[in-house]
């Protein structure tokens, strides 16, 4: 049987964690909602259409500062593909969208530390390009 004192103590501890999270959560979501509207505009502004490597890095960079459900990235990636952008670029866009979180970085850093968050996101960004290349190579084998 759990003691009432222990129950109260752990509830207090959990509430304290959440109180600390609340401004980060609200701020992160507000920021995400600002950024998510810019992405389709960037695509239509003609930021792509250079060489494959530049397009891929550009796509991964745009996706990194974007946020939202993966389904949004599928739709946008679909638009890129329809516009004639190469599969490696589209894949980098998809992968960076779901693995890199520039918008959620401040929240992550406040909770887990700046060094951890910066390294984690930087590595995820580089890996998104590598994964895109590997995926396309594997599909063509």
């Amino acid at each position: 049987m759990i003691e009432r004192k222990k129950l109260r103590q752990s509830l207090k501890q959990t509430t304290r964690s959440f109180r600390q999270l609340l401004p980060v959560l609200v701020g992160g979501l507000l920021l995400a909602c600002l950024v998510v509207q810019v992405v389709p505009q960037l695509i239509h502004m003609g930021l792509f259409g250079h060489d494959t490597f530049t397009d891929t890095v550009m796509a991964a960079a745009i996706a990194s500062v974007s946020t939202g459900q993966p389904v949004v990235s599928y739709l946008l990636a679909g638009e890129l593909q329809k516009a004639g952008i190469e599969l490696v670029t589209v894949t980098a866009f998809l992968t960076a969208w779901i693995t890199v979180g520039v918008v959620s970085l401040p929240a992550e850093a406040v909770m887990l530390g700046w060094h951890f968050s910066l390294w984690r996101n930087l590595i995820a960004f580089l890996l998104s390009i590598l994964i895109a290349w590997l995926t396309v190579v594997t599909l063509h084998v």
Partner: protein, 179 residues
Amino acid sequence: MSEQTPAKERTRSRNSRGGWWFLLAVILLYLLIALFDIEYARRSLQHFLKMGRDLLPVLILVFLFIWLFNLSSSMKEKLVGLSGRNSGIKGWIVAVTGGILSHGPIYPWYPLLKELKGHGVRPALIAAFLYARSIKLPWLPLMAHYFGLTYMLVLTFYMVLFSIVNGWLVEKLLRRGDV
């Protein structure tokens, strides 16, 4: 409960204030944008309210989960044991599987990860968990619908593989920074 040292108290207080400063900065950004484009700010705010509504059930679930976690010291020890310094392959499996199975937005998971980190869970496993979260099981059929089944399988395979690479690299770089 153990007494908090003054240094720990100061760090905690700085961390909690950091969150409020961040929120204030975002509110100021909204006000600035509203000055130039009120419609853009209004649309963003509407989006935020909708996201907030979607998030609420997940937040309640995570709150209950952390409460349960804090309540059961044996459960806490077990989880930390499974992903602690000497957890080996078991720790990686727990981190990657946990990441894949966890759902909802990332924000509610941070306090739990912070709690685990404080109890000695390896940064590599936290990073692997966060990376593996990008594999969203419910959305995979949709990805297959857009890009084909083979594409979905190949990409998912690499995501699982690189969640471990990501975790390993993050820990290596953090350790190098500590030297």
